[in-house]
Symmetry: C2
Subunit: 244 residues, 2 copies
């Protein structure tokens, strides 16, 4: 047996997220289904995290154990031929037998895409949040800067998740604009449930003036979810990279 680490890209539009759910199309489900066809037995895949329905990934990671006489490149091609065209294994490499895709992750980078234009675009709708009014990039960046560092992000977390602590460390958080494409990039040692989408929703609320920059320290301190902005829609969110 050997352990392999897969780097996976997926268009999340049609998927109910990463995590296997009976009777629903999930990324883990289609990969485990392909592995069943390859090996004629159930192989469990361990993902670096969950992703929500509709969220995309360029560099999702997962590990699994397989027979050690299968070359990594053959494994990659075999799996790719058995999964839908909207999921692609980009890399397959052998790792240590005690490597763990979730526990060994030192952090993750997400990029959220906003299509900021008063013109409708049929081809951007699956991959960006469409906002017509002009966003204030400077104000959004001021907000992002306030999040960098170690904070209790309870205000930026949807209920329904059970975590020991809501303290996380954000190492970078910034907004960039290129034409009508506005992106918010955030790297942290870990993320709470819906954390990136609430950060984006709050950044937009700050741009609009519905949430004031001067109130952000108090929102962080009190953990008041109501003080932060809405949860941005899932379709703009891309898991870019898992850091090991």
């Amino acid at each position: 047996m050997k352990r392999v680490l897969l780097t996976i890209e997926y268009d999340g539009t049609d998927f109910h997220g990463w995590q296997y759910q009976p009777d629903l199309l999930t990324v883990q489900g289609v990969i485990e289904n392909a592995l069943y066809k390859l090996f004629s037995k159930k192989v469990t895949v361990i993902g670096s995290s969950r992703t929500d329905a509709g969220v995309h990934a360029h560099g999702f990671c997962c590990h699994l154990d397989c027979d050690d006489n299968i070359p990594d490149v053959a494994f990659l091609r075999g799996v790719n031929s058995l999964i839908p065209p909207t999921v692609a294994v980009k890399e397959c490499k052998t790792v240590a037998n005690d490597f763990h895709a979730r526990y060994d992750a030192k952090g993750k980078t997400y990029i959220y895409h906003i299509y900021n234009s008063n013109e409708k675009d049929a081809f951007k709708s699956r991959y960006a949040w469409h906002i017509e009014r002009q966003l204030n990039i400077d104000k959004m960046n001021e907000f992002c800067q306030m999040l960098v560092g170690t904070h209790d992000f309870a205000a930026f977390c949807s209920s329904g998740s059970q975590v020991e602590t809501t303290v996380r460390t954000i190492s970078e958080c910034f907004v960039k604009k290129q034409g009508s494409d506005v992106t918010l990039t955030v790297t942290a040692d870990g993320f709470l449930y819906n954390m990136v989408r609430i950060i984006v929703g709050t950044a937009v609320a700050v741009s609009d003036g519905r949430v004031l920059l001067e109130n952000i320290p108090a929102i962080l301190q009190t953990g008041d979810r109501e003080g932060a902005g809405m949860t941005a829609p899932p379709n703009g969110l891309f898991l870019e990279k898992v850091l090991y």
Copy 2:
């Protein structure tokens, strides 16, 4: 009453083509549905042509009649707010009362996208035909050049269509490569059923050596569909522009 010409963009992935079909999602269906909501009466939209299920459009055109006190820009915004995000009205302009989107079309330009790479890409699958083997662009262009002019394209037409003549005039037809994106652009005064997709399938067959360049004149002359290549999948095809 006034007549307006709409220019429409759509991601055809989820649509059963342009043409209205009961109980199926079609582009004409969602637009007529929006018009029904706007005007509380049935308004018929006349398209420049049909498109097949899964085919996309950047510049599809259609016309309809509406009350002449509605400004074009208000009409555009109203319709856009009532149709799915994967369909966008890009332009709305008042035209002569006897203008006809189909009969007045002098020609159309299609662009077909091939993703030519041995790497799988989850985000290209909806918008390009994935071909792993390296394509021979020069040979494909030689083939394209043979099609330019007025020919009987019976060999490049799927059965099931009823047309008076299968003679068409192609004014431009060429292949371009930019990195892994290979495009075939074709402009003609009109197109037969599946004509662009069969031209693309044949161009690929020529590249592969399965169809020989020297046999193309005979294939055109005899109208032998079997001599031409396969019908390329719909997802790579974009209607770019209707010429009036």
